[in-house]
């Protein structure tokens, strides 16, 4: 396989900087791949395509972390409609009200200092 000119993570972050949630699609496996990588974990193929998600998903699993200091917060696994799963959080609601099965919509949490942007979600009732 040829030398990588840009890492999978760098491509992913570049999409987030444009407000996009990107994922990969493996033609040989005919399925989405996430997190981004160089090799398809099902077929070993190296021809993974980049695609941009429509941004809608469903809460697959959820927890509320109770830190020793500070307010409780949500951590969730989100199943995107395109068929991939990622860790994130659901914002703008009481963390204890986040529930499996809720429909959610992606938005970008902007870069802060050294930390690159990352995807977060809000409730998308009816979506």
């Amino acid at each position: 396989m040829p030398a990588a000119t840009e890492s999978p993570l760098a491509t992913y972050i570049a999409h987030l900087e444009r407000g996009e949630l990107a994922y990969q699609f493996s033609p040989s496996a005919n399925r989405a791949v996430f997190y981004p990588r160089l090799v398809c974990p099902e077929t070993g193929a190296t021809d993974l395509d980049w695609r941009v998600s429509k941004g809608l998903g469903t809460v697959h699993a959820t927890t509320v972390v109770h830190p020793a200091q500070g307010a409780p917060f949500n951590v969730a696994l989100i199943d995107m409609d395109e068929g991939f799963r990622l860790m994130s959080r659901v914002e703008d609601v009481d963390p204890t009200s986040v529930a499996i099965g809720q429909r959610v919509r992606f938005r970008v949490h902007p870069a802060e200092g050294e930390e690159p942007p990352y995807p977060v979600f809000t409730l998308a009732e009816g979506a």
Partner: protein, 384 residues
Amino acid sequence: MSGLTRGGAAIVGAAESDLGAVAALMSPIDLMAQGIVRALDDAGLTLRDVDGVFCATTQGRTSAMSLLEYLGLPNAYTDSTIVGGSSFEIHVAHAQAALEAGLCTVAVIAYGSTQRTVGRRAASAREYNPYETPFKPFLPASAYAMAASRHMYEFGTTREQMAEVAVAARAWALLNPAAWEKKPLTIEGVLTARKISDPFTVRDCCLVTDGGGAIVMTTPERARSLRRKPVWVLGCGQSITHASISSMPDLTKTGAIESGRQAYAAAGVTPAEIDVLALYDAFTINTILFLEDLGFCPKGEGGRFVEGGRIGPQGDLAVNTNGGGLSYCHPGMYGLFLLIEAVRQLRGECGARQVAEAETAIVHGNGGVLSAQATVILGGTATV
């Protein structure tokens, strides 16, 4: 694990190092060495008999190198595979392979941790994961908590059922003089404890202690010549399905399904023939998942299965008789302690918590966030 011979190696010595809160400035390697010397004493062997060394710790990148230096064993065959808490179940399979291949004749498998003394973060620094770390999951608890959330959602498993696991572990611990926890625990006590990561309270989570230990393995011929009743390795299996929880294929089905299948097939036994269970209970949901995935109840029934003290000392299935990671000890990686307890049960050395006429044990290790599953089936004299 195919390729290994049923009964092709035996465990002939087992011992804990100091446990709980160890002396100031003890190192993980000190605890490994202490465990090894005690386990060799148990076997009637000495350090000069050892030509195979297997170990792992989160507190050193090159623990085998450190341990060989410490013990003065430059020529020992060595392997320090590390896949979290189940590393030691995998070491059993690797040690058996080495013994069968003639690469060594007496192998020790050792662990040591000073997690309580130095603090959880110092003992096991989290690696940065760009796809998870920004969300600040409290790992590993939050990963297991999310698996629990799915089990509750899919199967109706309740908080009370999870609490039953912690209550049973505590009841066993009260029969084990070496256990860290000394006071009874109730379901109410679990549910009202300090919240950690929903649905877990601190009583759904394993202890944070210091500790270590070792087991000694050798060939069948050598095993029969030693003073302890050999405990035979009947079958091993492993399945490593993911590293991070967001990549776990199915949050309610673990690699224990596959590792158990391999181990049962190699051992030629079924769940109904198992007398003692040692299941890696880092969190209460683990025991429920592993009872299901190792075939002791159908998928989804684990919560109902553990009700009514069924896995406690008065119940009909002997699970985690030492008190488990929840109430006996849990120094970062717990897998070696599962093996030590199973060996003692099969030798009939467990006193008040002894399971009558125990001849078979299933030891199931778990590493990472339900990631690395490894099963070892052990048997007494009647099984070989």
